[in-house]
């Protein structure tokens, strides 16, 4: 039985390597996810810069076609599965217990396991670069680009194995988070008092829980096709490559909302605080988020309008796609309504949040455009799509994540990121991103195809490609400013108090950074904006007891060992059966250790 005896100011300062390897503290796991995710964001960014450098001028010679194919595939996989998703998971981990008033997630060791499996999957997938070449069939891996006839070698096996391992990690994390939010809320924290970020978290996790099994099956079929000579996707033996596309996009489209909804949740926290007004239309925003998730499962075939679908499915999927514009529009108007008439403080977090609304709207509008099959037929596989998806995923997801970083940094570290550097960071990213991606609309409309490693002069594409490349370097410089800001800030003294922004949600009720047990006294929730309610009604926070005996789960190395076992199974699937056997043995050992370990 582990008993942490702490007083108000004292928290356990443990930071050795062993402590990080065995931690089950949701805040530390959140930091691990955040640091890993950001590192992969940098890696994915470097991949993108190489692509843009190659495309800066016609007939570029920086990369050859083979490496180019690997880079655009890995850029997408890195950004989606190893950067944006883990950075989302980082915020989920750190803030779910703090925002709902709990001391940890429902299953602390499972949480650690999710991280170690994520890291294994990410390293397996990335290591393909040094083991004979990275996957080069696009992140969608359409058959026959992924079949053993056209993708010789191990590259696409790294894809299937890496994604199954990453998916396993996401599934475990999602189950854990969903149970935590549903079951571990503080007294008075009803579902309709949950912060919107928590609502979006629930929605994201249910999207993952219901879509990951579909891609897992598809990946298993692809792995079997490539390694055990089944014929799921090869037409010569009666298979159907279109089945892969259906299974992939049944997962792939909800995945898009998995990437964007966390950021929608983040800005729904930032906008009210810096407008000094409660969120406008809370219920509408929550239900719009749920509606987006439900509709998100009914639109996948809009990725497949050019595969020869019948007229009726085209009409249905076109209608459902455009219908998603309605709940999205509801959210946008509610965010504007939140700012309207508010006393706005233009902090860096607010800059990023406001830019999210603008940029996401652009991406959303172009999205509704290719919801129409005839227009989509024109735009399919052109740079117009690249422009659209980057307005949604960079202008949306990444801008929202940066809003979250600037907003919660004082809570996580006790230190303020420098606001001047922050604004330079913001403007460079904002201009860089628009300079990079807006010209791609023009390139796409004038017919430049995606995923070509070079192009001839004389199509009228030269100037805009150069502009886009310049933009990408400005964008990268903005990220460097952020890194500089981060390291500069970490050298300063922590000066942020509990609630520097006058925030309304529970995470601001505890110290910055929070103690290991999160709250000295579990808060009582009386309103949707609990801290503002207490402030306005002169309700004092309860005094913490002099001596606090709080049971915290003890650290455990079993998650690390089981994560290692899963990694061995994955490596075995790429090399030798014996390795898989060893991995299974390690997993079984760690399950027994896990179960028999005393936890309370």
């Amino acid at each position: 039985m582990a008993t942490a005896t702490t007083s108000m100011s004292q928290s356990h300062q443990k930071s050795g390597v062993w402590d990080w390897l065995t931690t089950v503290d949701h805040k530390k796991i959140g930091v691990l996810y955040g640091v890993s995710g950001f590192s992969f964001l940098l890696l994915g960014g470097i991949e993108a810069l190489l692509i843009r450098t190659q495309l800066a001028v016609p007939n570029g010679t920086v990369l050859d076609a083979e490496l180019y194919n690997q880079l655009f595939t890995m850029h997408a996989l890195t950004m989606i599965f190893m950067a944006i998703m883990p950075m989302g998971a980082s915020f989920f981990n750190y803030f779910i217990p703090l925002m709902i008033g709990a001391r940890d997630v429902a299953f602390p060791r499972l949480n650690a396991l999710s991280y170690w499996i994520f890291l294994s999957g990410a390293l397996i997938l990335t290591s393909s670069f040094i083991f004979g070449g990275a996957p080069d069939g696009g992140w969608f891996a359409y058959a026959p680009l992924s079949s053993e006839d056209y993708a010789v070698g191990r590259a696409m096996d790294f894809y299937t194995v890496g994604l199954v391992v990453l998916g396993l990690s996401s599934l475990m994390a999602s189950l854990n988070f969903a149970v935590t939010i549903i079951n571990m809320r503080a007294p008075g924290m009803t579902m309709m008092r949950l912060p919107v970020f928590m609502w979006m978290t629930i929605v994201v996790n249910f999207l993952l829980i219901l879509s990951l099994p579909v891609i897992t099956v598809a990946l298993a079929q692809l792995y079997f096709d490539r390694n055990f000579a089944t014929n799921f996707f090869s037409p010569a033996q009666g298979g159907d490559p279109i089945l892969w596309q259906h299974l992939f996009w049944v997962f792939g489209h909800p995945e898009v909302y998995v990437l964007i909804l966390p950021s929608m949740g983040i800005i729904s926290e930032v906008l009210p605080v810096f407008s000094r007004k409660p969120l406008f239309g809370y219920a509408a925003i929550v239900f719009a988020g749920v509606a987006i998730a439900v509709l998100g499962f009914a639109v996948w075939s809009h990725h497949m309008f050019t595969t020869g679908l019948d007229t009726v499915p085209k009409i249905v999927f076109s209608a459902s796609t455009m219908a998603i514009g309605v709940p999205t529009g509801i959210k946008i108007f509610n965010w504007l309504g939140t700012m309207y008439g508010g006393q706005i403080r233009f902090t860096t977090a607010m800059y990023f949040s406001v830019s999210f609304i603008a940029l996401f709207t652009i991406g959303g509008i172009s999205g509704v455009m290719h919801g129409s099959p005839p227009i989509d037929t024109q735009q399919q596989d052109t740079y117009f799509i690249v422009a659209h998806l980057h307005y949604v995923l960079f202008g949306g997801a990444i801008m929202g994540i940066f809003a979250g970083i600037y907003y919660w940094f004082p809570k996580m570290t006790g230190r303020f990121l420098n606001e001047t550097l922050g604004k330079i960071n913001f403007w460079l990213m904002f201009f860089g991103m628009n300079l990079t991606f807006f010209p791609m609309h023009f390139l796409g409309l004038s017919g430049m195809p995606r995923r070509v490693y070079t192009y001839d002069s004389g199509f009228g594409w030269d100037a805009w490609n150069m502009v886009a490349t310049i933009g990408s370097y400005i964008l990268a410089f903005g990220i460097l400013i952020f890194l500089f800001n981060f390291f500069k800030t970490m050298r300063q003294e922590p000066t942020a108090g509990n609630n520097p922004w006058d925030g309304a949600t529970l995470e601001w009720a505890t110290s910055s950074p929070p103690p290991e047990h999160d709250f000295d006294v579990i808060p009582e929730v009386r309103d949707r904006d609990p801290l503002w309610y207490d402030r306005d009604n002169n309700i004092q926070q309860p005094e913490p007891p002099e001596e606090n005996h709080i049971h915290l789960p003890p650290p455990s190395y079993m998650p690390l060992i089981m994560g290692f076992g899963v990694a061995l199974i994955g490596i075995g699937a790429l090399s030798h059966l014996a390795m898989t056997g060893l991995g299974v043995a390690v997993v079984i050992y760690s399950i027994w250790g896990w179960v028999l370990e005393p936890i309370d």
């Binding site: 099994p213 099956v217 014929n231």
Partner: protein, 198 residues
Amino acid sequence: MSEAVTHAEHHTSTGVDNRMLMMWIFLASECLFFGSLISTYLIYQGESLVGPLPGELLNIPITSASTFVLLMSSVTMVLAVYGAQHKEFLMMKLNLLATIILGTIFLGFQVVEFTEFVHHGLLLSTNQFGSSFYLLTGLHGTHVGIGVIYLISLLIGSSRRNGLGKDAGLNLEIAGLYWHFVDIVWIVIFTIIYLIPS
């Protein structure tokens, strides 16, 4: 007996135990997992270019017997949960053992069936029937196998000095959820593959 009573010391917002809630949500995920596999089977029904075809191989009487065995294992599972919740631990252990044996017999039937099919020339790579049949029933069998190991672990755990402790009822109930789910999936698979003529 509700979970709130068996597990009152761990308060949760909904009153449902965390592990129980997680199993329910996990089973929702499993629905999509088997849904994808069954869809694949249905899509490839009648798409095989070469034999052997399902009509030549499927043995409905024998599989009906194995289905009966699996369904009976759900009955013994219910009795084991009942025993755990009413502190009749001998009843719990005997029924747990019966469930394990019935589950293993079902797996035995599956091994025999697979061997038979391979003997008649149906390999994973032979045709669309082979690919989708082996993947679907094989992954279902894997689920039964994991269930058997899960129940063996509980049986071994219940033989320790403290048994399964105060959570015995809850532990068995969660395992039971999983076991019944795998059973129900088999009923769907049995109906679709064996009973509905292609």
